[in-house]
Amino acid sequence: MSESPSIDHHRDIGYAEARATADQPFTVTADPDGDGMVVQGVCPACRTFTEFAIGRGIVGTKGRRRASAPAPAEITVFCMCGHVHAERPPEATDRGCGRFWKVRLP
């Protein structure tokens, strides 16, 4: 992380898989460690800095036809603040408050 989350701003809300709306701008930059991208900003629910790294990889096929399909203008990201939130189910694989929202790609 390029910016440390401040525990002072963190809201200790319970885990919930609920949609949220980004009320602050998120930055989308190229991933310096790969060919993907990194989405950074403040989680609109728990108010903590969160960093969402998106890789680029194989999923099992070449995807020739998708090259002609329009790329999505917005992507879904979820909170990855790293804090332990109450009521987080043990099977949850995300590391945050559970909220998710859309971020517009540049």
């Binding site: 898989e17 879904t76 979820f78 998710f100």
Partner: protein
Amino acid sequence: MSPDDKRWALKAYELKFQQLEIARKQAESWRAALTGLTSLLGAVLVIKGKDSLADLNDPYRWIVMVLLGAALVLLVTATMLAVSAAAGNPGGRILLTGEHLRSWSTAEVVRIERFVAWASLLTLTAVTAVAVAVGITWTAPAKSGAVLVTVVHRQGTVCGELSGSAQGRLLVRSPRTKSVASVPLVDLIGVQAAEKC
């Protein structure tokens, strides 16, 4: 935005940590398929029937060869389509977001359905071609084992299958008309093996 959006995003996020497993699984599938392809050639040639296509008369020999060749091409294509549907084509990458993955999955389902349908159709066509080829090898007239000769005698030349001699005459059967020419042995000047008449 629905809860499904997060599920797709999570699924795409997890894929980032499974790249090696996906690549290895894909490589294993393709290795098995390519190994199977090499055995296709032997399988097609083994089930064709007679030991040698050279025993067949023209044009049956060429018909069988074309049918077997077409069957082999069809089977190879069908196998490649089926493997591509099952394991995907190696080499492509997508951005691992939920939206990209959902778009990819939707297109992939359509592609798999189309490839499997084509693979089935091509396989059925190939099996039919092999069956017809086997049928032809069983029923088509085989080449006769007779020796073709050119017989030169005092009155001229006769070309045909040497069928024997009787009562001082050499018998030569025409391969086309099946009529038998009779050459007196006293008139015989020479006999030469012939490639064809």
